[in-house]
Symmetry: C2
Subunit: 201 residues, 2 copies
């Protein structure tokens, strides 16, 4: 199909598709001449993925490009791809360099094995600092119960990753991690409402 058809089927304006092509979020179509290219189902899928990453996923164009490059790179192992990509996932804003000692202590208590350079470590430290800066106290037993729930979630997710193909595994792990986050947030808010109704009504 040509770009106008790609625009029509994906629901994304031609000008925006050109922008995505320019930014490297969508691979170029197969050129049939200097001013013509054809696009296939793969491009349609890719555009849908890009829209999901930029919209609900909350990624900027620059971060989405890096994530997609990682997903596309066949040389990386699943672990490496996950680590590289997760560094691009949106975390708490700011470029502070928080003290992660307390966080690493928690992880040790839970028996979690993670890369000490992981950006999620920093994200957690920043998130906890922001919580306390806003005037709340993060109690250890509260955090421990949260960690236990998170451990269950992580186990579910990793069990879900297909083991047969590297590309499929990376794609599922990276994109799944990101796009399930809004699902989890919405579920938690609904669960809070249910619990609040039971307690206060």
């Amino acid at each position: 199909m040509r770009i106008s058809q790609l625009a029509e089927r994906s629901g994304v304006p031609v000008a925006t598709l050109k922008y995505y092509l320019r930014e490297g979020l969508v691979p170029p179509g197969e050129a049939t001449s200097a001013t013509q290219a054809v696009y296939g189902q793969e491009h349609l899928d890719r555009v849908a993925l890009v829209r999901a990453l930029l919209g609900p996923g909350g990624l900027s164009v620059a971060r989405a490009r890096v994530v997609l490059e990682v997903v596309d790179d066949d040389r990386l192992t699943v672990i490496d791809a996950l680590a590289t990509a997760s560094a691009q996932l949106p975390g708490p804003a700011g470029d502070e360099q928080p003290d992660t000692a307390a966080v690493r202590e928690h992880l040790e208590r839970w028996g979690w094995v993670v890369d000490p350079a992981s950006p999620a470590l920093r994200d957690l430290a920043v998130a906890l600092a922001a919580f306390e800066a806003a005037g709340f106290e993060m109690r250890t037993d509260y955090l421990d119960r949260y960690a236990e729930a998170a451990r269950a979630l992580g186990a579910i997710d990793v069990a879900e990753v297909p083991g047969d193909s590297r590309a499929g595994a990376v794609r599922h792990a990276v994109i799944g991690t990101l796009l399930v986050e809004p699902v989890l947030i919405a579920l938690r808010r609904l669960a809070q409402q249910d619990a609040a109704v039971r307690r206060f009504c």
Copy 2:
């Protein structure tokens, strides 16, 4: 204290404080003359809260203003305040009006009681739609396990809300909901890493 001291102690530039005052995120200080006002500890706390909402909380200035108005409004019940405020919390982007029938079916299966008009309901439907639009399948048993974990989280949170003062309860419920989200996201990513290491290494 005067505005320059407020700026110094909070670490926020004077120009930005003026911006927050203009936008109604921070209440005006007590005017002592036409060109002078004094600020107290309450303002310092408020500025810290605003920074947390705008930064890690991910709220826009406009949404933060509504959330703060709700928290400040003594006439609302805890449930009403939670509902009003949670409508301002950042959900998946976009202004689509998704079909929530499937989501309400899930809730019924889980036995959750929530306001059918809740924005979180819409957020969940949008998040699930985005996940599927990106080419993934959301299996019922996967979602069920996520819901079970979310239920545990919601119960923890609501048990945490102080029952003695309305203002404290609303503040804790609204702000706590929001600021714990980045903590949960970071915990999940760390848990995934741990689980991935155990599976793939």
